[in-house]
């Protein structure tokens, strides 16, 4: 490792340390933890309800229900809004608090600052939402073992890695998008809502347009296909799913590309809090 690369790694580590210290103390990040606890609450309640005899369950549909909750609720709401909160504020929050200049007055390349901040956001998003998904699925599998479909519990556990992996990719993709929006717009909530609307409406778009979204690739990677019925069918993405060997690097490439745009863009950023 060259001295320059060693220096950059040390600086990125320092940025991550500072960001985690500033933004993700338990009290400050409480809304995030509550958001992440919501899917957990659903499956814990179900497991407790079954154990106490309040609900009847054969376990056969539970894996499909989890896949539905994961796609419709976790990815589209919990992770999406979690990333809005985390990544929009990485730069926008600093401008509002008038503290961005402290970073600009450090001997750190501005593009490294973007990378450091993105990584800090990614670490917290993956830790919070990844843990939520993993714990929810693990509880579901433990619950399955107690039902008439106990034989499904073992094989189902193999999907745990896939769900966590999709969550990580969702954080990386949405995180990059919101990091850039937070840098580009004075009021980034409006473009964030536009992204939400786009991600929600792609089900009505032709197959080609469906592919210009993060959610399409994420759902392609989900281990269980959901046979959506009723109102849920509105969210069924009917285009052929993209194979994992394209979807995974594609999403990662998208994230890298957007972070690179942010890293270029930050060189033009000036400190002018008076204009805010």
């Amino acid at each position: 490792m060259t001295p320059a690369v060693r220096l950059w790694c040390a600086q990125i580590a320092a940025i991550v340390r500072l960001e985690l210290k500033k933004n993700f103390s338990f009290r400050r990040a409480l809304p995030l933890y509550l958001l992440a606890a919501m899917p957990l609450l659903v499956f814990v309640s179900h497991a407790i309800g079954y154990a106490r005899g309040w609900t009847n369950c054969h376990g056969t549909e539970d894996l499909t229900v989890f896949a539905g909750v994961f796609q419709l609720f976790v990815l589209r709401l919990v992770v999406f809004f979690g990333c809005v909160v985390i990544f929009l504020n990485l730069f926008r929050g600093e401008v509002v608090q008038k503290s961005l200049h402290y970073y600009f007055l450090a001997p750190v390349r501005r593009d490294l600052l973007v990378v450091g901040k993105y990584l800090s956001g990614l670490i917290i998003a993956v830790a919070v939402f990844g843990a939520s998904v993993a714990l929810s699925y693990f509880i579901l599998c433990r619950h399955l073992a107690a039902t008439a479909s106990a034989e499904l519990a073992g094989p189902a556990l193999h999907h745990l890695g896939s769900y966590v992996g999709v969550t990580v990719l969702a954080c990386a993709g949405y995180g990059a998008v919101f990091l850039l929006l937070g840098m580009l717009f004075r009021n980034p909530i409006v473009p964030a809502i536009a992204v939400l609307v786009w991600e929600s409406l792609i089900v009505f778009f032709p197959p080609l347009l469906k592919k210009i979204s993060v959610i399409f690739y994420l759902e392609s990677l989900c281990p269980v296909r959901v046979p959506f019925e009723g109102p849920g069918a509105l969210f069924a993405i009917t285009a052929n799913p993209t194979p994992a060997y394209l979807a995974v690097p594609g999403l990662m490439l998208l994230a890298v590309l957007i972070v690179t745009v942010a890293a270029v863009r930050i060189h033009r950023l000036e400190i002018n809090y008076g204009a805010e």
Partner: protein
Amino acid sequence: MNGANGIVFDDVSKFYGDVLGVNRVQLSIPPGITTLVGPNGSGKTTLMNLMTGLVRPSRGSVRVLGIPPSDPERLFAVTGYCTQFDAFPRGLTGYEFIYLHLRLHAMGHARAAELTARALERVTMTAPAGYRIASYSKGMRQRIKLAQAIAHQPSVLVLDEPLNGLDPMARAEAIALFRALAAEGLHVIISSHILHEVDQISDQVVMLSNGYVVAEGQIQAVRGEMHQEHPLQILVRCTQPGLLAARLFSEDHVAEVRMHHDRGGLLVSTRDPESFYELLGKMVLEDAIHLESVAPADEDVHSVYEYLIGGGGGAA
């Protein structure tokens, strides 16, 4: 001046949309204490932000010890900037604020901790450093910002209104610190409204008005360039003020002579101080006038500011 050891503005202009920040600034700032003086909106903070890269010039270029502000890795290894923004990263203690910033310099824990302790000691903030900055008074916040700016031992220190919010004792300590840093060979650039304190500490001043540099250099030299338009006022306390006044009236360079209200001296306005001092010396020898004191009455920053820029500058 060699651009590699000074701060050089080369024909620098900055516009915020249609609003002028500074225009066609040509400056070379040597080591020592340089004070930027001017009313609100005159361009002091813009100049400081330009030299630290927080804003980019619309035209022209800036070099700090030969380093462009677009190279933060090199620039902020040698530059510290205490801004006037009274805002801090959330949730940090005074110690963490400095320590974590030093870690951005890629310093190890031991070195960062050592420099943090040293900086806190220099601004007498060691005791409250463990408390959150949110609980600090205005003066403490000002001092912790100052500590952060000097913690990495920079060669260039830029201080935007550093005396704001400090009580008289803390001001005196801060001024002593600035002097000590300047004596160590640092470039210390200060903006201030408090003109009598500027007078005490400045090796040179840069006066700004409406985005333009209207004067720069040592205050005596700046004052000297204004003698034709604003004759220098000299207060002479002596035993025979009437005799002295009679002699002075015949001199072309003397614009006005006024008797002091206690009739124990004169206030002389002259366009040629050197000739005046020469004449005064001759009279002391020839006419046996006994001088108690001779002192310029308007050779300070405040007077120069009043002449060049106008009222309101002496306050604060």
